[in-house]
Symmetry: C2
Subunit: 456 residues, 2 copies
C-alpha cells in the first residue's frame, strides 16, 4: 500500500500538544469529581447488543456501531435465508456486540450487575470515549469523550445543590469566568402543560418553548397553534414569554401560575430548595439562572434539568448538561433507584478554553533542556548528568545522534525546549557543563549542582 | 428485559478500587515517559480496515474486531451474490472499519500521515486500549491497555540505552525490586544461524532455542533435528546451552562464535555498546541480562530485543517487551524510518504489584470525612463548611439523606472514610463541629480552623 493512509471520517488523531491540552481539562474535571466524593469506574468499550439496543429510541439504535461476530459469522444463517433477509434482520444474526453509545446506559447496567457489591448512595464518575455513527460535522465526531458524574440511590436534593457547585468549581478552576448554569425542572414543565390543559401535548409544548431564543415569541406561538394547543392555553402562559427578574421573582411567578397543579407545585418546591441553598452557599464564578424554556432530555429526566452555557463572549452551545432521572436502572430490572447526574462536554470546553486563550503555558511543557550530542564519549558524560537530573524529576534529554550542531539546535528550537547543554573535551576535563539559554543566546559554564538549580 | 445484565466475554468492568490501582500504575508510567522526553499522542479506536488488515499475519487478521457499516450495509451486495459468498468475502463488502489491534500499526500510520508536522527524531508514547478476538483465558482479555514508548527517525543506540533506563526507572518507582531486563539482538540470532549453515531455518532455529527454559537442552536439540538442522550444526552451538557468566563473558563467547559472520559481529557490537554504557550509568533496582534464547517479535525486530521478567518470587511471564525495527513505516510507503520502542504489560504489572502488596494505601484514599445529615438546617451549616474545605482541596462529603444515624455511620465505615463530622443544634449555636475518629471512636469538639488542620 503506498497511497497516503488516512483515518475514518469523524475520528481524530491527537498530537502531543492536543493531548496535553485535553489532559489538562480532564485532570481538573477528575480532581473536582474526587473532591466532591465521586469515585471512578470503567466499563468495556463494547457491550452486548441487547444491553444497548432499544435504549436510545429508533434514531439511537441506528447510530450505534455494531461489531461483526468473529469467525464464520454466516454459519448460522441459511443460504436461502440470505436472499430475502433485510439488513436489520441480518444485523441481529451476525452481530452480538456494539460500541458504547453513551456512559449512562452502561452505568445503569453496571449498577444492576454489581448491586450487591455497591454501597449506596453510589457517587460514581466515568470519563471514557463513546461512539456514534452520526453524520460528522464541525464539532461533532464519531468518537468523543464523555465525562459524567452521577449519584444513584438517593432522592436528596442536596445532590442537585452539590452538582451546581461542582460545575462552578470545575469552570472556575479552568479560569472560565461567566458561565451560566441554567436550571429547570421537568415537573414545572408538566405542571404548565397541565394547567393549560395540554398534558397530552407536553413534548410538543416544550419543544416549541425551547425554541424561544431562536424563533421568538411569535414563532413559538405559531408552532404551538400548529401542534393543536389552543389560543386560550397559550394566553395562560403569556408570563413565560417575558420571563425575567431574579430567581426568586421567577419562582414567585411560577408559584402563581402553577397553584392548581400538584406536580407543578412540587417542581417549584424543588427549584426553591436548590436555588435558595446555592444562594446561601455562594458560587465562585458561575451564575445560576432559572430557565423555564430548558427542556433537554425530557424523555428521561423527571426532576431537575441542568445546562451550562459558555461565557457570553464565546459563540458556543451548551458545554454541559444533566438532570434527575427517577428510574435509571428500571430498564435492567432494578426498580426505585433514583439518580441525578451531570456531564461535561470536553470537546466544546476545549474549544472555549482555546478561544479565550486560557490554557496555561505550562500545559505544553516539554523537556527543560536538550544535551547536544558531540559523540559517544561526550554523550556518556552527558547521560551521567541526565540520569541524575531525571532522578531529581527534571525533564531533560540527549539528542540521540551525533548530527550537525545546527540541526541539533534546530530540533531543540522546534520542540520548544528552552535550554541546550553543551559538553566537549574542556567541559569533561573540568567536570562542567555549558548551559545555553536558547531564547536569549546567553551561555554560561556551570558545575552539576548549579545545573540542577538552574534547570529546576 | 429483566434477566440480569452481563458484559461480553473477555471484557471487564473496573470498580473504583480497581480503577484507582490501575491509574496509580498508569501515572507512574506516564510521568516516567515524560521525564525521558516522550510525548503523548492518541489515535482513533477504529481505523480503516485497509490500515490494519494484513499487518499481523493471517492469525492477526482473524482476531481483529470488524465494525459493521452503518445504515443498509447490504445495499451494495446483490441478492444472488449473497447465496454463494463466504464470510470472508462478505466481510470486505459490509465492513470498512476495524478496532485497533495494537498501538504500533496505528503509530506507523500516524507518522506517515503527519510526517510533515512531526519533528524527527520523534519520541512518542501512547496509552490506549486495544481489542483482540482472542479466546479469553486467565490474564488474557479481549479489551486491554497497551502502554508503548517509541522513538522513530534515528538509529542511535543511545535510545536502547535510555529504554533500559526507562524500564528500570518505572519498575523502581513502583517498588518492584529485582526485575530482570533481558536483552538480545536479532543480528546475533541471524549470525548464529549463518555460522551453523541454517540461515534458511532461522525461525525454526530460534523458536526451538526459545524453549530452552521449558523443555531443556535435550528437548531443544530434538526439536532442531526434527526441523532439519544437522547434528554438526547443533554441535557448533553447544556453548549456547550452558550460556552463563557475566554479560562481558557472554559477549566474549558470542564474539568467538560469530567471528565469521558480518551480521553476527554487528550484533555483538550493538550489544556491547548498550551493555557497557548501562554498566557505566548504573541501574536502580533492575538488572540487565543477555539472554541469547530471547526471540520475541522476530518477524519485525531487526536489532535489539527486550523482555522484562518480574521478580523471581512471582510466577508471572514477561511484564514488558520491545525492540528495534528498521522499517516501521515502510508498510505505509515511508522508507528508512528506523524505530525502537518498549511496551509495559499493564494487566500483568497490576497482578504482580497486587501479589507483592506494593500498592500504597493512599491509592484507595476516599473522602477524609463524611458529615452526618441530621436534617436540612444542619445540612446547610455542614455544606458551608464542606464548601470551604473543598476550596482548600480537602475531600469531604455530606451524607445526602437524613437517614438513621446508624445507617449513615455504616455507610462511612463501608466506604473506608476515616472521620465523621456531627453537627446538631449545639454545634450550630457554638459555631463548632464534633469530629469523630471512626477507627478509635474518639470524638472532640473543634472550631472550623481546627477542623481544617485535623483533616488536612
Amino acid at each position: 500500500m503506498s497511497k497516503k493512509p488516512s483515518i475514518p471520517k469523524g475520528t481524530r488523531d491527537f498530537s502531543p500538544a492536543e493531548v496535553a491540552k485535553r489532559n489538562y481539562i480532564f485532570s481538573i474535571i477528575k480532581s473536582n469529581f474526587e473532591k466532591f466524593g465521586f469515585q471512578p469506574i470503567e466499563t468495556p468499550s463494547f457491550e452486548n447488543s441487547e444491553t444497548l439496543m432499544g435504549k436510545y429510541g429508533e434514531e439511537g439504535d441506528r447510530l450505534i456501531f455494531k461489531i461483526l461476530n468473529s469467525g464464520d459469522f454466516l454459519d448460522k444463517v441459511a443460504a436461502d435465508e440470505l436472499q430475502t433477509i433485510n439488513y436489520k434482520q441480518l444485523t441481529g444474526k451476525i452481530s452480538e456486540k456494539a460500541l458504547r453509545y453513551d456512559l449512562t446506559v452502561p452505568f445503569a447496567r453496571y449498577v444492576v450487575q454489581h448491586q450487591n457489591e455497591i454501597e449506596f448512595p453510589f457517587k460514581r464518575y466515568q470519563i471514557q470515549p463513546v461512539w456514534r455513527a452520526d453524520r460528522p460535522q464541525k464539532g461533532r465526531f464519531r468518537e468523543f469523550y464523555q465525562c459524567d458524574a452521577d449519584v444513584v440511590g438517593s432522592t436528596s436534593l442536596w445532590q442537585e445543590v452539590e452538582l451546581v457547585q461542582l460545575y462552578d468549581s470545575v469552570f472556575s478552576q479552568l479560569g472560565l469566568k461567566g458561565t451560566t448554569i441554567k436550571i429547570n425542572n421537568r415537573k414545572i414543565l408538566s405542571g404548565i402543560a397541565e394547567v393549560i390543559g395540554a398534558s397530552d401535548k407536553l413534548i410538543d409544548f416544550t419543544v416549541a418553548l425551547d425554541k424561544l431564543d431562536k424563533i421568538g415569541e411569535d414563532g413559538v406561538k405559531k408552532e404551538m397553534l400548529e401542534k393543536g394547543i389552543t389560543e386560550e392555553a397559550i394566553g395562560k402562559i403569556q408570563p413565560l414569554f417575558n420571563f425575567t427578574g431574579t430567581i426568586n421573582e421567577k419562582i414567585d411567578k411560577l408559584s402563581n401560575l402553577l397553584s392548581t397543579s400538584v406536580e407543578g407545585k412540587k417542581g417549584v418546591e424543588e427549584l426553591q430548595f436548590i436555588c435558595s441553598n446555592i444562594k446561601e452557599l455562594g458560587l465562585q464564578t458561575a451564575s445560576l439562572d432559572l430557565d423555564v424554556t430548558l427542556a433537554r432530555g425530557l424523555n428521561y429526566y423527571t426532576g431537575a434539568i441542568f445546562e451550562v452555557a459558555a461565557p457570553k463572549e464565546v459563540a458556543m452551545g451548551s458545554i454541559g448538561g444533566g438532570g434527575r432521572y427517577d428510574d435509571l436502572t428500571g430498564i435492567f430490572g432494578l426498580k426505585n433507584m433514583s439518580g441525578v447526574g451531570i456531564s461535561f462536554g470536553l470537546d466544546r470546553i476545549a474549544l472555549v478554553i482555546e478561544e479565550l486563550n486560557l490554557f496555561p503555558e505550562t500545559v505544553l511543557a516539554t523537556s527543560k533542556a536538550m544535551f547536544i550530542n558531540f559523540g559517544d564519549k561526550e554523550a556518556l558524560y552527558s547521560m551521567k548528568a541526565i540520569t541524575k537530573l531525571r532522578a531529581e524529576n527534571i525533564k531533560v534529554e540527549l539528542y540521540p545522534d551525533n548530527a550537525k550542531i545546527g540541526k541539533q539546535f534546530q530540533h531543540a528550537d522546534k520542540r520548544g525546549i528552552p535550554f541546550a547543554v553543551l559538553v566537549g573535551e574542556e567541559e569533561i576535563n573540568n567536570q562542567e557543563f555549558t548551559l545555553k539559554n536558547l531564547g536569549t543566546g546567553e551561555q554560561q559554564k556551570v558545575d552539576y549542582d548549579k545545573l540542577v538549580v538552574l534547570l529546576k
